[in-house]
Amino acid sequence: MQAVPQSKGRGQLHGRCIGGRGAAGEVAVPVSPLSLSPVSSFSAGTEMIRFLLLFSRQGKLRLQKWYITLTEKEKRKITRELMQIILSRSPKTSSFLDWKDLKLVYKRYASLYFCCAIEDQDNELLTLEIVHRLVELLDKYFGNVCELDIIFNFEKAYFILDEFLMGGEIQETSKESVVRAIEDADMLQETMEEYMNKPTF
């Protein structure tokens, strides 16, 4: 991976956060009266992550996982809006904020922002730790994970996420188990194929 020429990347991983330059307050106002009816109507009362976005400081979406049904257009609109809100927040603010009838929980790791939308009554702190666990998993898998790993191995990042969360609910909290499952899967890529799938005897 390192061999791939890059315009942004490792060099900037530990760059400084963009401050809330300019009229931060005004930027933060969610102006578009986006009709979010699918989200709202989904407030059935069971807690779970509604969607998870992973984006860079430059506002590039790196990973998206939607646990609710929305059209692509809605997804893009939400993504744009959230990135704008979160990127304009100054560093020392809390990791939570209200957005429509949902709550956003986000945290920045190096150049990447991880943002989860959860329901109002959900446990915010534990959602933060879900994010942290996810980062740990990525880190363990990629070994010192950086944005580029996720760009170039996006499918793996999705697999890791899937192993950890399912339908927005945490599936396995044990790091060992998740990593084992992923690595097994990796091993299996070559081994399983030849050994599960020789013609049936």
Partner: protein, 974 residues
């Protein structure tokens, strides 16, 4: 070593991604993407059938393009094809594509469902999990229709692997949420509750989510889960930080499971069973106590996990709202957090206290923190935190502190963030009205609101102040005076003009006695604002003017002049023009009496809920507003803003006309009906019955694996009839020697040979590359054997591999007696052939000569090696040269009993590795063959196929000969 196959060879994909990243402009990117799309399209359309790898690569590229934000309108079929691939990675990519780009094409859905069905039936846990993930990711109705009845079966089946159970539970949850009507309730539901007792923490964690959702929908059917949840919680809470191994997160035992259990309990009222309740209260107290203990780690993850449980416990305490002691403790704990240096904790403490404020037990305790909260409102740097502080002030407000809180909120409003101004305005307006002792304070407050944040004062707010002033005689004079003063300001907000215009139009007469506010002064003041106002305000002012003509006849000429002016009577706006014309006509032709009737003072409004409250509820969504006021029906005012709202009632001069057009109407919006406090809702909805389940009924699906028992030592020496001799040739082993040898491949002790004369028993032990074998020669006859000479012999070649030393035995073996011979064996290097033993003796004059194979096979020098599955696969991969593998497919010669098979494999010498093979029916073993010169690592895998009554055996070792030989040896054992 996760790096092993990260790049799994899709070089084309990496190159493409890097090309895209190097694009200097959006146009270049689109160009590159179009090129790629054309390429992929031609590949997919080409005559040449694509191999799986290429298909996977192209599908992955399409996915990447789609995730970049471009539309993808082909490739679905290829992705679906990948689903049925036998190759894991291809299948995986196929599923990923399908999950991200679901397509409602029914033909495709059928194919997808088919592939999923096959994978679910495959009994291969990895494939099953992929399929379950796909169902959960898509979660559509079609999926639910196809699989909702199948998944519960997988979930509760006894032989489902843990990882599959976890996926099945969450998959079912997803389907249940999207299509509850399609998930059949039934026998499985009672079994699913018992997953709370599962030994595997991961299974419990996944299952609790499902159970919680089921409980919310059918609390009565699942109330047995309360006691199970309490006991599970209690076990976690009381466990030490290391007890739960990997389920301990930064020294906090199972935080996710704990929170989920606490959340599950919030579906029910407090347990009725005293013992269960006692245990639960104890848990909650322990959690509160732990908050006071010094942290076990400085890491924020530790405190977050710990506090996540604490906050959830507090939620449960608030939900129960029945334990004053716990409520007050919770409040004190939150009070500490109010001043914590972590912004997140301050935020959450403010939020959580909001709900505490509405409990009668803790309301007073919350109020003690008022200064801290006011301070937070003033000094917090984060707007979200300030917002929470404003919420809390609103929630803790009552008659005793309303003046202070309202004034603090007003002063905060001057600097408040734009994003929350409107909400604060609404809150201030509501509090001012709710706790108004004298209405002059109320009027002042609202006018202050308009002055400070006029832009954020919505129609509802100023409608409301007018309703109240009209309904209350005592405040009308004060209101008129105050608005008059407020309008004196050189720049005043349009909302102020509206309120001022309306109130002066109704009650201007009350202050007209004062020459400083004489009718003309009032009129001139209002009219000075006229030209700066919007059409709707101007329309309102025109109505005020006609009311003035009625109130103050002396203003009639001035006002008629204004109405007659071109800017009014020829106004481009139809509404304004019409009003000017009508009012002018009315004032000129109607008699004073008629005027007085038409323009009478507005009648009082019917009592109704504040429209502001409804607005706040709508803004915050259900459950967000604390329903503090009692007994008021939820009614919403249907408000038509602007023109119609103004007193244009002249054309329909009904005295009862609702000036503000504020008809009471039942609420149709979603906001109001259930807008009450969440707590209240939960209490009223949930039945009071509680769970009382006999504890203990733990389902244990794991059948314990018995260690294989050693074959019993049967060195019987019986007398038997004599028999004739066999052969003279010392060299050749008897015909059945191989067969006899095979019996000992997986065991060390037993009867090696027996005929009418002689029985040979074996007992042996091996350690590392050394072994000792005891041979017991039993004379079955009553006649003495003479010249009894057992000789070990092996080929010259074998001598380099094996070294066997023994002492000669006594040449006389009495009838019925047994002699013993000890062999010391050293394995120098691996070997294929077994050494021979030749036994010669004379029985009744005949020379007996028997040659057998000694039961020494290379597997005897195995040292079993336990290893986790990842190591296994890593090693398996390392041994991937073709010559390192030996494989054999063979028919079963014995019944395919899994316990017997396991015993045999253990006897063979390898460790039997559990949870390695994704297919639970398969056996996997590992061991090292220890010889003097080399150690040979061996991995084996045995796949039974019950239907075909066959096995496939695969061996991988670092030495070709060993692989082959072991495969040969072991394949004869089943």
């Amino acid at each position: 070593m996760p790096a092993v196959s990260k790049g799994d060879g899709m070089r084309g994909l990496a190159v493409f991604i890097s090309d895209i990243r190097n694009c200097k402009s959006k146009e270049a990117e689109i160009k590159r993407i179009n090129k790629e799309l054309a390429n992929i399209r031609s590949k997919f359309k080409g005559d040449k059938a694509l191999d799986g790898y290429s298909k996977k690569k192209y599908v992955c590229k399409l996915l990447f393009i789609f995730l970049l934000g471009h539309d993808i309108d082909f490739g679905h079929m290829e992705a679906v094809n990948l689903l049925s691939s036998n190759k894991y990675t291809e299948k995986q990519i196929g599923y990923l594509f399908i999950s991200v780009l679901v397509n409602s094409n029914s033909e495709l859905i059928r194919l997808i469902n088919n592939a999923i069905k096959n994978d679910l039936a495959s009994r291969n846990p990895t494939f099953m999990c992929l399929a379950l993930h796909c169902i959960a990711n898509v979660g559509s109705r079609e999926m639910a229709e196809a699989f909702a009845s199948e998944i519960p079966r997988i979930l509760v089946a006894g032989d489902t692997m843990d990882s599959v159970k976890q996926s099945a539970a969450l998959c079912l949850l997803r389907l249940y949420k999207t299509s509850p009507d399609l998930v059949p309730m039934g026998e499985w539901t009672s079994r699913v509750v018992h997953l709370l007792n599962d030994q595997h923490m991961g299974v419990v964690t996944a299952a609790v989510s499902l159970i919680t959702c089921l409980c919310r929908k059918n609390p009565d059917d699942f109330k047995t889960c309360v006691s199970l949840a309490v006991s599970r919680l209690s076990r976690i809470v009381s466990s030490a930080s290391t007890d739960l191994q990997d389920y301990t997160y930064y020294f906090v035992p199972a935080p996710w499971l704990s929170v989920k259990l606490l959340r599950l309990l919030q579906c029910y009222p407090p347990p009725e069973d005293a013992a269960v309740k006692g245990r639960l209260v104890e848990c909650l107290e322990t959690i509160l106590n732990k908050a006071q203990e010094p942290p076990k780690s400085k890491k924020v993850q530790h405190s977050n996990a710990k506090n996540a449980i604490l906050f959830e416990a507090i939620s449960l305490i608030i939900h129960y709202d029945s334990e004053p002691n716990l409520l007050v403790r919770a409040c004190n704990q939150l009070g500490q957090f109010l001043q914590h240096r972590e912004t997140n904790l301050r935020y959450l403490a403010l939020e959580s206290m909001c709900t505490l404020a509405s409990s009668e037990f803790s309301h007073e305790a919350v109020k003690t923190h008022i200064e801290t909260v006011i301070n937070a409102l003033k000094t917090e740097r984060d707007v979200s935190v300030r917002q929470r502080a404003a919420d809390l002030l609103y929630a803790m407000c009552d008659r005793t502190n309303s003046k202070q809180i309202v004034s603090e909120m007003l002063s905060y409003l001057e600097t408040a963030d734009y994003s929350i101004r409107e909400e604060i305005v609404l809150k201030v307006a509501i509090l001012a009205e709710r706790y108004a002792v004298d209405y002059s304070w109320y009027v002042d407050t609202i006018l202050n609101l308009i002055r400070i944040a006029g832009d954020y004062v919505s129609e509802e707010v100023w409608y409301r102040v007018i309703q109240i002033v009209i309904n209350r005689d005592d405040v009308q004079g004060y209101a008129a005076k105050t608005v008059f003063e407020a309008l004196q300001a050189p720049a005043c907000h349009e909302n102020m003009v509206k309120v001022g215009g309306y109130i002066l139009g109704e009650f201007g007469n009350l202050i007209a006695g004062d020459p400083r506010s004489s009718p003309l002064v009032q009129f001139n003041l209002l009219h000075s604002k006229f030209h700066l106002c919007s059409v709707s305000t101007r329309a309102l002012l025109l109505s005020t003017y006609i009311k003035f003509i009625n109130l103050f006849p002396e203003t009639k000429p001035t006002i008629q002049d204004v109405l007659r002016s071109d800017s009014q009577i020829r106004n481009a706006d139809v509404e304004l023009q019409q009003r000017a014309v009508e009012y002018l006509k009315l004032s000129s032709i109607a008699s004073t009496d008629v005027l007085a009737t038409v323009l009478e003072e507005m009648p009082p409004f019917p009592e109704r809920e504040s429209s502001i409250l409804a607005k706040l509820k709508k803004k915050k969504g259900p459950g967000a507003v604390n329903e503090l006021e009692e007994g008021k029906k939820d009614q919403n005012a249907e408000i038509n803003g602007g023109v119609e709202a103004t007193p244009s009632t002249t054309s329909t001069p009904s005295p009862s006309a609702d000036l503000l057009n504020l008809r009471s109407a039942p609420v149709t919006g979603s906001a109001a009906p259930s807008a009450g406090n969440l707590l209240v809702d939960v209490f009223s909805d949930t039945p009071s019955a509680t769970a009382s389940l006999a504890p203990g009924a733990e389902d244990n699906f794991l059948s314990d694996l018995e260690p294989p028992s050693e074959s019993p030592l049967s060195l019987l020496v019986d007398a038997a009839q004599p028999s004739d001799a066999v052969s003279e040739d010392p060299a050749l082993p008897i015909a059945e020697a191989d067969e006899l040898l095979n019996k000992f491949v997986c065991k060390n002790n037993g009867v090696l040979f027996e005929n009418q004369l002689l029985q040979i028993g074996v007992k042996s032990e091996f350690r590392q590359n050394l072994g000792r074998m005891y041979l017991f020669y039993g004379n079955k006859t009553s006649v003495q054997f003479q010249s009894f000479t057992p000789t070990v012999s092996y080929t010259e070649d074998l001598q380099n591999h094996l070294n066997i030393q023994t002492k000669p035995v006594d040449p006389m073996v009495e009838g019925g007696a047994q002699v013993q011979q000890v062999l010391n064996i050293e394995c120098l290097t691996d070997f294929d052939d077994a050494p021979l033993i030749n036994i010669k003796f004379r029985y009744g004059g005949t020379l007996q000569n028997i040659t057998l194979k000694l039961p020494i096979t290379v597997n005897k020098f195995f040292q079993a090696t336990e290893m986790p599955s990842q190591d296994f696969f890593q090693r398996w991969k390392q041994l991937s040269l073709p010559q390192q593998e030996a494989q054999k497919i063979f028919k079963a010669n014995h019944p395919m009993d899994s316990e017997v098979t396991k015993a045999k494999l253990l006897g063979f010498g390898t460790a039997l590795l559990e949870n390695v093979d994704p297919n639970p029916d398969n056996y996997v073993g590992a061991g090292i063959i220890q010889t003097k010169s080399v150690h040979v690592g061996c991995l084996l895998r045995l796949e039974p196929n019950i239907q075909a009554q066959m096995y496939r055996l695969t061996l991988r070792t670092s030495k070709e000969s060993v692989s082959k030989h072991l495969c040969e040896l072991l394949s004869k054992q089943f």
